[in-house]
Structure formats: C-alpha cells, structure tokens
C-alpha cells in the first residue's frame, strides 16, 4: 500500500506527514501528530467531539481522509489559546462550569468559535442549532449555551 505525502498548515505551523489512504484526519492528528485535544467519540460524524476547521470550515475530522488535507489549513483546539492566555470562550467555559468530563469540550469550543466568527451576536436558538451536532453526555447543555452567549457578549465589547 502506497503512502500519501501531505503538506498542511496546522494552527499556523507548516506540517508534513505520510499517511495511509484510508487514515482519517482525526487519527493522524491524534496518533501521528500527537494533537490529542481533538477527541474521538463516535467516528461516524454524529457527536462532534472531533470538530476542527479545515480551510475555515467547521468539519468532523473523523469524516475527512488525511489524504484530502493536502495544501489545506487546519485549526484545532490546540491553536485556540494565545500561549497561556485563554480564548474568551475557554475562559467562559471555566467561569460557567460548562463542562464535566470534558470529552465534548474541545469540539464544542472549536464549533462555537467558528459560529462567533460568522455571527458575533447569535440568539440562544442560533447557538443551539449551530451546536446541534456536538453531543454532551454530562452537562445538559444549558451551561454550555450560557457560556457561549456570555463569551459572545464579551467579544463584542
């Protein structure tokens, strides 16, 4: 089986890797590049734990082949904070206790960030619809939604 040579930019860094044609981008991020912030929940596009942005678009990395990522720009949760300084969304998640086990959190943060880039002033139901593909077994969602709305408010001011 011939491996594919891929060049990408991940969180601003040029990164090259070799992958098998059937390897998903999620597996590559986690197992090859050791960017384990991105989680695997279902592996079939249902839970959103593996959310990343690919060329600016929010996608499930479990449904992208590594081979497809050639010449693309990828952002993961690891690129969200500015060094030690947390992104407002991350800070608000802490302030509102919007997580328990935390498995869904990186995906939700990445998804919420992409929402606020598109729509800095979303309504509660817009946030709920946007995040409908991010499942959380712990929080009951309420605190997540509050944290996102609060972060949006802070980022607007």
């Amino acid at each position: 089986m011939s491996q594919v040579h891929i060049k990408t930019k991940i969180n601003g860094d040029n990164i090259e890797f070799l992958c098998d044609p059937e390897e998903t981008l999620l597996d590559i991020l986690r197992d090859k590049l050791h960017l384990t912030g991105t989680k695997e929940g279902c592996g079939t596009g249902d839970c959103g734990a593996c959310s990343i942005t690919l060329d600016g678009k929010l996608v499930c990395s479990c449904l992208v082949l590594g081979a497809e990522a050639d010449n693309s720009e990828i952002s993961t949760i690891e690129g969200m904070s500015n060094g030690e300084k947390l992104h407002p969304l991350q800070q608000k998640f802490l302030d509102h206790a919007a997580l328990q086990c935390g498995v869904c959190t990186p995906g939700i943060l990445v998804a919420a960030k992409s929402l606020l880039e598109k729509n800095p002033d979303p309504t509660e139901s817009e946030v709920r619809y946007w995040l409908a593909g991010n499942l959380c077994r712990c929080t009951g969602y309420d605190k997540i939604i509050k944290a996102v709305l609060d972060a949006a408010k802070e980022m607007r001011s």
Partner: protein, 285 residues
C-alpha cells in the same frame, strides 16, 4: 485501498472506468467515510473529485444555476440568489445533518447515496433540476429523478459520475417549500417528506405545480395527479384536500422503526398540503 485526486472530470471518469474492484467517488465524504467505517463498503479505489477545476463553484448561467458536484450544503445555503429563488431547496439542505456535516456534504452525494429519505432529492425534483454526467461516452444530462433507481442504487454506469446540478431560475410569483416529519427537530432522518413548487399568475391562480414525496416509496415520487388538483385554483382548502388525497393514494411506504405504512401515508398528504400553503405564501400571496 488507493486514493487519487483527479485533476479533470475526464481523468476521474477514467480512474473509475479502469478500476476492476470497488471504487467510490469522494466529495464531502459524509456518507462514503461512514460506510467505510461501518464495513458496509470496502473500496479498492477512492477518487477525490474536489480538485477538478470548477467543481466547487456555483455559477449563474443563462436561465439556470449550475452547482458543482463538490459544493457543500452550507455553500448553497449561503448563496443569496439561490435563497431568494429556491427557498425550498435551501430548507431541505439545511435539514441534512449538523453544521459540521453541512460544511462537507453535497447535493450530488445526497442524490447518489440513493436513500429513499434523502432530503434534498424531492426538493430538487420539484424545481426540475437536472444533473450533468461525465462518463466514457462523454457528457450527458438527465433529470434528477432518473438517478436513484432503488435504495442505495443509481442509474449511473461504470465510469460515470455527476459533475454538476442545473436548477432553472424561477419565474416571478413562484416559489417552493419542503417539509419533512421527524421525531426530533434536528439531526434526524425523514420519516416522510414533501416538496411542492408552484408558479402562480399575478392574480394568484396556480399555473404550474409539482408535488413530490420522499420516503414513501423506494425512490422519490412525483405526484402528477396531485399537481393537477391545484393548477387553476387559488390553493383553496378544498383543492388542497383533493391534492392531499392524491398524495395518499400514490404512497407505497414500508413500516419500520421510524413509522408505519399508515402513519407515513397519512402524513404525506398533510405535509404536501402544508408545503403547498407555504410555497403559496412565499410566492407573494
């Protein structure tokens, strides 16, 4: 498995033609990768079509929109003129999967997956969409409804794949609407669906109508008799009632965990009538 990114439509068609094992076209991957993961398919060759020039573009041509096969659902949703002219198509696309899925999934993928419950298919059929196909014999085009022939099966021949969808512009005083029934509001699969496209005179009389049902038969159903009941009317209650009955008559659904035959049949009529009312309103009446 091998992965190739085709540089032209002809090259992609050639790859598909030459492959002796199982091959799959990859655009958004939201069905193909799930099927690979679940072991439903084990492709020997994946042909990625996203690098083909123009295949990710929406163009406004003389009389119709041309939407490339690799344009994602969210890109269609964000297109201003498509929103204006084809709200029913947009709302069908908006119901497919989550935000993440919509960033990748394509209309052509939804069509070629050939699920009887595909959301965008009834909506595309209602507005007379056509697909352009490239294959070993060159180019051809056909109506959207000619593609799915049975659940999971399409009429595409070896080496053929769809490169774009053409949707005619809608005249003035016309509109469309898509409705589906699901137990949840999001992230679900249609139990029954209905799409209605109408063209009205400026006095508010229906001149042309197309009523299409999804998930009530192995493939999408065009209910010609239902359209006849509303043409020439102002979509008053009694014509809508007659239209609903024609929808009910044509249904041949299955019973499964999502719904029974009786439920699907009855709801098909209700949805068609509601969709017609929405389209009527959208057309400006």
């Amino acid at each position: 498995m091998r992965y190739v990114a085709a540089k032209s439509a002809e090259e992609a068609s050639n790859f598909l033609l030459q492959e002796t094992g199982v091959s799959r076209v990859l655009a958004g991957g939201t069905d193909v990768l799930v099927q690979m993961k679940s072991g439903m398919i084990e492709p020997d060759l994946i042909v990625d079509i996203k690098k083909i020039p123009g295949i990710r573009n929406i163009t406004e041509l003389d009389g119709f929109f041309r939407i490339g096969a690799a344009v994602s659902g969210s890109e269609v949703k964000d297109h201003e003129n498509i929103n204006k002219m084809l709200p029913g198509v947009v709302e069908a696309l908006d119901l497919i999967g989550s935000t993440q899925i919509q960033g990748r999934c394509t209309m052509v993928g939804n069509l070629c997956n050939a699920s009887p419950a595909a959301d965008s298919v009834p909506a595309l059929v209602a507005v007379n969409a056509k697909v352009n196909i490239i294959g070993p014999q060159g180019e051809r085009s056909c109506n959207v409804e000619e593609i799915p022939i049975a659940p999971g099966k399409t009429s595409l021949k070896k080496g053929e794949f769809i490169v774009s969808v053409d949707i005619p512009y809608r005249p003035e005083f016309s509109s469309d609407a898509y409705l589906r029934f699901t137990p949840r509001t999001e992230m679900d699969i249609a139990v029954v669906s209905a799409s209605v496209a109408i063209e009205m005179s400026k006095e508010g009389i229906c001149e042309n109508a197309k009523v299409v049902l999804g998930a009530v038969a192995p493939t999408v159903k065009i209910v010609g008799d239902a359209s006849k009941e509303i043409v020439g009317t102002k979509l008053d209650e009694s014509s809508l009632k007659k239209m609903s009955l024609k929808c009910v008559e044509i249904c041949e659904p299955i019973s499964d965990k999502r719904g029974t035959v009786e439920f699907r049949t009855e709801v098909a009529g209700v949805l068609a009538s509601r969709a017609a009312k929405i389209a009527y309103k959208r057309a400006g009446f």
